[in-house]
Symmetry: C2
Subunit: 888 residues, 2 copies
């Protein structure tokens, strides 16, 4: 009943049912929260009577009464949503302490210091969480009531010469409580409530209010938690870990959450409350001897200090893990030697740990393989595929700037500001990070040489991002804090002056940048046995094939190593930037007539043929989808004055002619300009040359017994007539090559579906096309009218204002863009039942998008080599979800 | 049976049925043509026998036999498609003249000169039309067999000292026939056929072949005639207008095709064949006295020369016009005093004539009003709305360059190369034509001052085109022949040097440019009574409302005069370019924070308020749809260095700051960038200011009894959340203004549907939006992925290769873009049954698109003022077509 009781409430009820010692409590359900927000912040009429009756039951279970002047029951009030939102919502403890109940509790516990300490904790927490919010005050950070009370406490300690809270006596705490209450009255204008039920209702309201606190809302946005779920409120009898030396409190994980090792792992503190463990003021002790580390040397473990309690806890650990069949994150309190469990929930874990635990638990017959696979989120796999900054080092390093996390993993190197410098420095054995305003195809050699790439502009699918992800390279883009002075080879980053050669470190998974050289941990997933096993299971289960986007033999090999089953997108344009080739390309662009252009373009044939041979060989008979030339021609002649005169000399034409051609190729919106198949229509000789290179490579390899399976892809089709125009050329060349080389070979001609009109007329296009491959980057651009290069100008506002829940270039927009994809699949398959359909946009490596592809009957997804394992696992998840609702 | 017989064949059959003298003939139907192309250029098996039997019938009707050596029947072979394609296909005359039939015909006619003349005509025509094509020869222009034979003829005439063909004797023609045949044998490699049936089959094939000739294909593309219609072939007995002095030939229109005047109008020549009248070698005579002009003074009319025949012809004229209930274009031949009708077809006419004839024929009770309305094509109306170049002058002026016809009508003026010069010269009373590479909002003052606008770049919906059409101003764009040297204020146009101050003339309807100052005919449609009457009928019949796109009181008044029923698109950005305002706009753009930005933007409030008041007043209570700021901000700060330093001084900021902001606003694809509602989301103060200006204007006018009906339009919505974000601001301001001004007023908040995603999610958007207005320009851009500014780079290739049948920015793509429009209408109305829906893209003035809007249940179309009458008529057509299939 997690949806109604929240995670915490449900687990407390569950533990109670299991006979585990849990302080008695009640849960106000999430639908009360929904009611509260739908009814102008009012509670249901019967809530009060129901609450009173439930508190009656707590009283009898605990043998104490709420507000009793002799033996008062104290309560905690805690939030508990369907899905854990750690630290995002409010908690109030020690509710029920008033001027009337304090004396009785002192008598009962014979511990005035504990009671006054509890009271001041209530005051500090309650004034902050309940009263300040209720007063509608939103103080600047560091000026809230909590901060003011802490200042009073600090001043008091200085006055008294105390070094720690432990030094304060009962009297001190009592005095401070008085001082706190006066300050509260002064600042917030109302008295601290002295009625137990008033405190209780205030706490309940505060928890509900905190559901719509700023932090909670932004957390929900990131985690995609719906606003309408609401939170439950757990009201529970207080037990105390700070009532004396045989009291304690602790948190633990049933297995190691960082490594996945099957050892009981946790921390505890003697005579303390839960918040003390987390606060980090006192160093926590290790739970047991087996998990003791250097840091906890010399600190007594619970295992040795209270062996009976530890053994009881250890057996609860086993019970809980068996019961929930997953690693649990638990909180406990020992009150005068009695163990109380305060919470159990599924524990968060690193990717490495998730994989290990899963494989172990399957081996322990605790869960099935299928269940195990769903336990590891595809993005957790990614962690294993890239080097990472050392976690501990990163924790203590200050973030100097943030950008968009475009290429995951860590990167450490010296800053350089040009691609040429990057290459030169790298040749000298230096590790560099290439910093640019934005990158272009002309920077590729420097990007390749660099450890990591950092740009001031661009979005998640900008040139830098695409290229870096393709190589699995750390990359941060759109970091607007960079203020680069290319002349001086230096930059200002939020006030930090960084010059060429200075070390910086980057976390491309989070988008954070640090000064100096942090430690980098290398990646080697195949060395991880659990990883290999898990991926083998995933491959058994998934039905969606996973291909890769690769355009070199090296990338192809990398992708095969990661499990790719073919190439879904081989871009051919990168092949033209090599110095030997770019001149021929430029000659082609500058040609005056068709025959001149044909001559120039044919100079490229031997290069392209060798490119394709290398890739076909690397793929060893797996299908290779080759996209014909796509980018606008001006990308090949962005030249400065000097380069223009060099080229002019080389080609024997006046520089003015080159400049005039460059000028005529300039476009206002190149994304919507003369590119894709529009190039092939205007310059059929380009299509001819590329088709010939593909088919000659195929024929030559087949002739020596190496299988090659080319799938020729016509890009940017908007009308079936465009496809037919280009298809005719490709098929004619295929026939020619078969005749010339005296060999028959198989090939397909299909198209990239990346424009709304292609989806709308997919039935027409499928008449002739043998496959569809969705280019969802461009499809997202045109469906939304968002330029992926310019989205940085408004995306932050859109996320901020909840206009978009996520960047549609990262995860496919299933409502809009997805509607077009579904339409194209339906229309295409209506005409051609077994039409091969894949996706080759960046979304091919996004787990949610992979699931969408599976649901909509695609045959494969294609993504950059480093996303292949992620997609394999995501495809297995999708298959499981479709097969059995339990896995959703 | 026009579809089967073709227009000519059907009309010949029809005339025969009416008892009008027509030479006997047969028609090979269009489905034979289709068969021919589908079956690899073969005829149906039974064609030969059917043809022979039909020729038998012709023989008995005419009392002559085909191939008879004594009294041979001669035949003509002519094309005849469903829809007339004048001059696009082939004709062969005098088929049946051979070495065997010539002597008999000479005996029979006693006119050897006529016979040999006929024979040489057959040879010249047949060798060109049939033999050269069959030989697969495509000679360069001026080098074909026809040209060679004409050279022989000319050489012969020079040798003999003849000045005209009339001088040649029978012997001369006979000799020439021999020379022609030898040359044919030499050049084409085969003998001239001497068998009548061989000649006949050759002619039939040639006609079918000509259906797929280059000219015919490109004509069909322009006229949107489907390729699969095919042509019929008409084989008809020859009659001769050149057998002697009582023979003649002529063409006539049953009413004047230029003015529409109800007078029999035509030309004839004595002793001539039809082609002589058209060829222009001899000056044709007037048909009658009533239509005699200065040019035909002194030439005898048929009315006086052969009064009986004229009177027979005149009565046939009346019969034909009554029968077809439309003006006819007829051809006749008089053979030895006997009148033969060779052809009747509905005559082509000018717009002015179409309107006058229609209104007259309705008055004559010849046709109904409904029928009459469909007789005038909406584009013919356009002719009346703009000044035009004098037709005769234009005919004789050489075209120096062609571009895209972006703004119809004529324009004559002196060339200037900058907007400032245009303004200065115009102030001095000089008429100027502004010539630019392309225009930008900063050129608008010069564009306004100019008579016409000419640009080297841009497409039909480029800035220049949009602005010029809005003003009804002559404009040609994308004229790539312009080679402008702005430094020298001169240009080279296909070798013509044109410098500042030189006169040029432009036909913006055709896209043609001429040297010198041609005569310009002014426009005044309202002075045309027939026009007024026709438009009144159209308004009675149409159900689709017609609004206008206007953003000034002047344009609004113009549009009202043209019959606009509201403003469908009032763009607000043009209002910001006034010097007083642009500075505030730039301050706003350069503001460092929200409050600075708000202050700057609020400086614009009084200006905007006055703008809206002016427009509301002009529209007098008619609805005014106002689009909130749409273009990317960088359009407002495209500055050169000098302007930057001026602005820096004015605003008291360093120039570097301005440059840095300009730089940061630069976008790779501004069309898909930070514009539309994305501006309002990022800078809500802009939306607030604009909403306030609109509502304050509304309130102030309502308070003084002037009705104002604002419809606030949020641009570029892709998600319903964007709409809701902006709508909230607009409604809040409306409430505020009502409170402040103490008045209630009506207003709507709706959105522009111009992105595929808005269509796909129209059901979500319609939850809150009160109206939709399709922005089909942008919708076409994103659906096709075509930038309208850059389409010039590939559109010509696309039209050339039949990949597109028309520019989708001119006429709505009903298959792709239209599918999205239909989807949005359906989804929107599913949620809100009576959702108001219009269209405000450039398509709103395109007749086909207007029909599409009517069919799909839109409430209104909106177009530039000068297209309003066109749209009104198109809307009436659409209503008639929907009501009665006869009108399709």
């Amino acid at each position: 009943m997690k949806n109604l009781l929240g995670g915490k409430g449900a687990n407390l009820a569950e533990m109670t049912n299991m006979g585990i010692p849990v302080p008695a409590g009640l849960t106000i359900t999430t639908d009360v929260c929904t009611y509260y927000y739908e009814n102008n912040y009012l509670f249901p009429d019967d809530l009060e009577s129901k609450l009173k009756s439930a508190i009656g039951k707590i009283e009898s279970a605990m043998g104490k009464s709420f507000g009793d002047v002799n033996d008062p029951l104290l309560l905690s009030v805690r939030s508990g949503a369907r899905q854990s939102m750690p630290g995002m919502m409010e908690t109030v403890l020690n509710v029920g302490l008033t001027s009337e109940t304090i004396p009785g509790l002192i008598v009962k516990t014979d511990n005035p210091r504990f009671v006054y300490d509890a009271y001041r904790r209530l005051i500090m927490m309650y004034s902050d969480v309940v009263m300040e919010k209720a007063a509608g005050i939103e103080p600047d950070e560091g000026h809230g009531i909590r901060h003011q009370l802490e200042s009073i406490l600090n001043a008091y300690k200085i006055e008294k010469g105390y070094s720690s809270d432990i030094d304060l006596t009962a009297e001190d705490w009592s005095k401070l409580s008085g001082a706190f209450k006066s300050r509260i009255k002064n600042v917030l204008g109302s008295n601290f409530p002295d009625d137990p039920y008033e405190q209780l209702w205030g706490g309940i309201k505060a928890v509900f209010q905190s559901w719509n606190g700023k932090r909670a809302i932004s957390y929900r946005r990131i985690e995609k938690i719906p606003d309408e779920w609401g939170t439950a409120v757990n009201v529970q009898a207080m037990v105390f870990g700070n009532t004396g030396d045989r009291s304690a409190t602790g948190v633990a994980f049933t297995r190691n959450p960082a490594t996945g090792e099957n050892k009981f792992y946790g921390e505890w503190l003697q005579n303390a409350q839960g918040e003390d463990v987390v606060a980090g003021i006192r160093t926590p002790h290790p739970l047991n001897e087996a998990t003791r580390t250097d840091a906890s040397a010399g600190l007594e473990s619970l295992e040795t200090f209270l062996p009976d309690v530890y053994s009881q806890l250890d057996s609860i650990r086993t019970n809980l893990e068996r019961h929930y069949a997953d690693m649990q994150d638990i909180e406990f309190t020992i009150e005068n030697g009695n163990l109380w469990m305060l919470q159990t929930r599924t524990g968060k874990r690193t990717g490495t740990a998730a994989i290990k635990m899963t494989v172990d638990m399957v081996a322990e017959a605790m869960i099935s393989k299928e269940e195990g696979i769903t336990r590891v989120s595809p993005n957790q796999i990614d962690e294993l595929l890239h080097p990472r900054l050392d976690i501990e080092e990163e924790k203590s390093a200050p973030v100097i700037a943030k950008g968009l996390p475009a290429g995951p993993g860590g990167g450490v190197g010296r800053v350089v500001f040009t691609a040429d410098d990057a290459e030169t420095w790298a040749k000298d054995g230096k590790k560099v990070i290439l910093v640019r305003e934005e990158t272009s195809p002309e920077d590729v050699h420097g990007m390749h040489a660099a450890e990591a790439i950092l740009t001031a502009k661009g979005g998640m699918t900008s040139h830098a991002a695409l290229v870096a992800r393709g190589w699995g390279k750390c990359c941060i883009v759109g970091c607007s804090a960079l203020n680069i002075d290319f002349g001086k080879k230096a930059m200002d980053v939020n006030g930090e002056k960084i010059k060429e050669g200075d070390w910086i470190s980057m976390n491309g998974t989070k988008g954070t940048i640090y000064l100096d050289q942090l430690i980098l941990q290398p990646a080697d997933p195949e060395a991880n046995e659990s990883y290999r096993e898990l991926m083998a299971w995933a491959d058994e289960i998934r039905t969606l094939k996973v291909r890769t986007n690769a355009d070199s033999p090296e990338d192809s090999k990398q992708a095969i190593a990661f499990g790719a089953e073919g190439i879904g997108l081989c871009r051919t344009e990168h092949m033209f930037f090599d110095p030997q080739r770019i001149t021929a390309m430029r000659k082609m662009i500058l040609a005056e007539n068709r025959s001149e252009r044909r001559n120039a373009v044919m100079e490229l044939l031997p290069f392209q043929r060798e490119d394709f041979k290398g890739i076909f060989e690397a793929m060893a008979g797996k299908p290779v989808t080759i996209r014909l030339l796509d980018p606008p021609l001006h990308e090949f002649i962005t030249l400065n004055d000097e380069q223009v005169s060099e080229l002019a000399t080389e080609l024997g034409v006046p520089p003015a002619k080159i400049n005039s051609r460059i000028n005529s190729l300039h476009e206002l919106n190149p994304m919507l300009g003369h590119r894709g198949c529009r190039l092939g229509v205007a310059y059929p000789e380009i299509t001819e040359m590329q088709a010939r290179a593909i088919f000659e490579a195929t024929a030559e390899l087949n002739n020596v017994g190496v299988e090659a399976m080319p799938e020729v892809m016509i890009p940017l089709i908007g009308t079936h007539t465009e496809f037919e125009n280009q298809e005719k050329i490709v098929r004619r060349i295929a026939e020619d090559v078969m005749m010339e080389k005296k060999i028959q070979f198989d090939y397909l001609v299909g198209t990239m579906i990346e424009l709304p009109r292609a989806c709308l007329t997919a039935d027409e296009v499928a008449q002739r096309a043998e496959f569809f491959s969705f280019g969802t980057n461009d499809l997202t651009q045109t469906t939304y009218g968002f330029s992926r290069d310019d989205i940085g100008g408004f995306l932050p506002d859109y996320l901020e204002n909840n206009i978009l829940t996520h960047d549609p270039f990262q995860s496919l927009d299933q409502i809009g863009v997805g509607q077009l994809v579904r339409m194209a699949v339906e229309k295409g398959r209506k005409v051609k039942k077994d039409l091969k359909i894949g996706i080759c946009g960046e979304h091919g490596g996004d787990p949610d998008s992979v699931e969408f592809c599976h649901q909509n009957g695609l045959d494969y997804v294609s993504c950059s080599p480093f996303r292949v394992p992620v997609a394999r696992l995501a495809a297995a998840h999708a298959a499981l979800k479709a097969f059995d609702k339990r896995y959703i």
